[in-house]
């Protein structure tokens, strides 16, 4: 029996809130399990530091991910090396697993375009800000890959709010029709800024929306990294190597919660109760996996401390590195609109250079 043969409202679970095993533990070696744990801690620590950088005026608006680590990291670990992710704006945790340095993420939120220049060897799409607009890209890219005879899988992230957008609908429908190797991963964190999940749509689950596209939808406890891993792995395998009955695409609804604000510009106390937050914090994915790994003898105090220290150092180094990058050269403004500067733009560029030469950078300060 496949993991997909279950009711839409019956989420897959592996660990309970205390880290006790309540489902099928995926077959992962110790290194990978520790890798998942470390990546979650990295994401959590990064998140805290990023929020405080913003508070200190060292970074612009930033979207925190605390609470959502299991969904991001569990799913990213389920991919093969050449697979791809197509993120929204909150998946720094998945991105770092897939080869995007934290420095890049920091630069991006510091307002440097270079932060979105994904390294050549990382199969990651750039951050997509307009909600759900990356969904058709994931379908198209997967479709292209299939047409090109590759067997890579494309994992597309989006939120609960994104399921209301036309692009979600159109992207999933194309995936069904062209049977593309795409896994649609919905980070249902219960809120789209201030709009609660129940106000977003009247469907009982988001997973069941997959039925509209003729492929499978499944819920998973998105704060259980092992459950997320298992479900994503199964979806990825199906996408890569489909059988007759089961179309390649899958929609995964990962039930989770954003502990913090929507972004650093948001004040969630206006629209939600602290009690709700506290309740969800009991499902925190990090202590859960830690408890399990301790009980399995894979982690102990020493190992945990060591990981803590290495994570802190990695984040501190990334911050140092990002902050030592000078403000981009203003001429970069003109450099990537087209492969070659069209004449009018070249004229604008030359005027710009001349103005800077004549008046210095103060000529460009607002008021």
């Amino acid at each position: 029996m496949s993991v997909f043969d279950r009711a839409y409202d019956d989420p897959v679970r592996v660990l309970d809130e205390d880290g006790e095993v309540v489902g099928d533990v995926p077959d992962l070696d110790e290194e990978t399990l520790v890798g998942v744990y470390r990546s979650m801690r990295l994401a959590r620590h990064f998140d805290g530091r990023a929020v405080s950088l913003q508070r200190q005026g060292r970074m612009g608006t930033y979207p925190p991910l605390s609470g959502q680590e299991a969904a991001q990291i569990g799913s990213a670990f389920a991919l093969a090396e050449d697979d791809w992710i197509v993120p929204s704006y909150r998946e720094h945790g998945a991105a770092v697993v897939r080869g995007v340095p934290l420095k890049k993420t920091l630069l991006y939120w510091m307002g440097h375009e270079d932060g979105n220049r994904v390294p050549e060897d990382a199969n990651v799409f750039p951050v997509a800000v307009p909600i759900a607009s990356q969904v058709p890209h994931a379908t198209g890219a997967a479709w292209a890959s299939k047409l090109q005879g590759n067997d890579d899988v494309f994992l597309c992230y989006f939120g609960d709010g994104a399921t209301s957008e036309g692009d979600f609908h159109e992207g999933l429908n194309f995936a069904g029709v062209f049977d593309t190797p795409t896994v649609f991963f919905c980070n249902n964190n219960q809120w789209a800024i201030s709009v609660p999940r129940e106000r977003q749509t009247r469907s009982a689950t988001l997973a069941q929306k997959a039925a509209a596209y003729g492929f499978e939808g499944i819920q998973v406890d998105g704060m259980d990294p092992l459950a997320v891993y298992s479900v994503t792995k199964a979806a990825v395998e199906k996408a890569r190597d489909p059988s007759e009955q089961r179309p390649r695409p899958t929609m995964i609804e990962a039930i989770q919660y954003r502990f913090g604000a929507h972004t650093t510009a948001d004040d969630p106390t206006v629209y939600r109760d602290d009690d709700e937050v506290e309740e969800w914090k009991r499902k925190d994915p990090i202590p859960r996996l830690e408890a399990y790994l301790r009980s399995e003898g894979i982690l102990d105090d020493d190992r945990v401390e060591e990981i803590e220290a290495s994570v802190e150092k990695q984040v501190a180094d990334a911050i140092d590195a990002a902050e030592s990058v000078p403000r981009p050269d203003p001429r970069e403004l003109f450099e990537h609109a087209y492969e070659e500067l069209p004449p009018e733009l070249e004229a604008q560029y030359e005027r710009f250079v001349a103005l800077r030469e004549e008046h210095g950078d103060e000529a460009f300060v607002g008021e």
Partner: protein, 328 residues
């Protein structure tokens, strides 16, 4: 004269919405996070509590749905005021804007009209993420059937918003968020309107006519003061309505000066400045003494914020542009 409150521009938006919600039951505010949250810029703060969930409505995350539902509501005689959270997110609803909002009256020979006002914060300069700093008013100004309004002061904001909401036809109302909280102004407490389609002269001067709107108005006025020190006197005209343009005000200011500049933060090519230039030489070529100078955003995608100061017309760039027009 009624009492005035000292309000910022975004408070004037809120006050304008409040006044209209209170005076007309058909007015409904809808959009993402406009209800309980009071809007991401607090433009709808407290309205949900006062008018309830049926009048100030949090919607699902879908711009075409928001605008398309507002079209349906307006066709039934309500006066919906949909908010799009940032003007950079109006595009998923673009078809509803240009295929329906602008055309229902024409299509039905006025059997159905759409008294709706589509609001969105617009423009750059607040260190926001990608797509949050757009100024693409030209996309709407080229579409017949729409009126496009961009206020630059709190007082105007309330009066223009009231006019927009009461207008029998659809209005796109773009709010310059760079100056949402930049300054305060006395805003009458009572309800009042400022007519759509009329520009306002912000400064008089006989050397160069400078046309601008939105957040660039203040920068232009500052540039004008600097230039005055050098003996160049600018007439600064705040267009307020971008489409249809106040041709009369534009042409008459130019006739007095023979020289002009247009300042906007939107990209230069295909922007409003080109249209104004064309109007000027169509109607007043014989007065023209110098090329109309366009001071605008560059023809590149709006950058992330580390470089946005270089993208937006600064006081200095505006000054230099006007100077060119003056000294040609």
């Amino acid at each position: 004269m009624s009492e005035t409150q000292n309000l910022t521009l975004v408070q004037a938006v809120r006050d304008g919405l409040h006044t209209e919600l209170a005076r007309d039951d058909d007015v409904v505010v809808l959009g993402q996070d406009v209800g309980k949250n009071g809007g991401v810029f607090r433009a709808t703060e407290g309205l949900y509590n006062e008018f309830g969930d049926d009048r100030v409505v949090d919607t699902p995350l879908a711009e075409s749905g928001i605008i398309g539902c507002a079209v349906g509501m307006a066709a039934m005689g309500m006066r919906p005021v949909p908010e799009i959270q940032f003007s950079g997110f109006m595009y998923p609803g673009y078809d509803q804007i240009v295929s329906h909002m602008s055309r229902f009256r024409t299509r039905s020979r006025s059997r159905y009209t759409l008294p709706m006002t589509l609001r969105a914060p617009y423009g750059g300069g607040i260190r926001a993420p990608e797509h949050h700093s757009e100024s693409k008013e030209a996309f709407y100004a080229h579409e017949a059937g729409l009126t496009v309004v961009i206020p630059s002061t709190p007082r105007d904001t309330k009066g223009l918003l009231a006019s927009a909401i009461r207008d029998p036809d659809p209005v796109v109302f773009l709010e310059p968020k760079l100056i949402y909280r930049a300054f305060r102004e006395g805003v009458p407490e009572e309800s009042y309107t400022i007519p759509l389609g009329e520009a306002a002269t912000r400064r008089e001067g006989e050397d160069v006519a400078v046309f601008t709107y939105g957040a660039m108005t203040r920068r232009t006025l500052e540039a004008a003061e600097n230039l005055a020190e050098d003996g160049i006197e600018c007439e600064v005209v705040d267009l307020r309505t971008i489409s249809p343009l106040d041709r009369e005000a534009i042409v008459s200011a130019f006739e007095r000066t023979g020289r002009a500049a247009v300042v906007h933060e939107a990209p230069k090519s295909g922007g409003i400045a080109g249209e104004i230039t064309a109007i000027l030489q169509e109607e007043a070529l014989l007065y023209q003494e110098a090329p109309v100078k366009r001071v605008a955003g560059f023809d590149v995608p709006y950058p992330l914020y580390a470089l946005e100061d270089y993208y937006l017309p600064s006081v200095k760039r505006i000054e230099e542009g006007i100077r060119e027009a003056a000294e040609f």
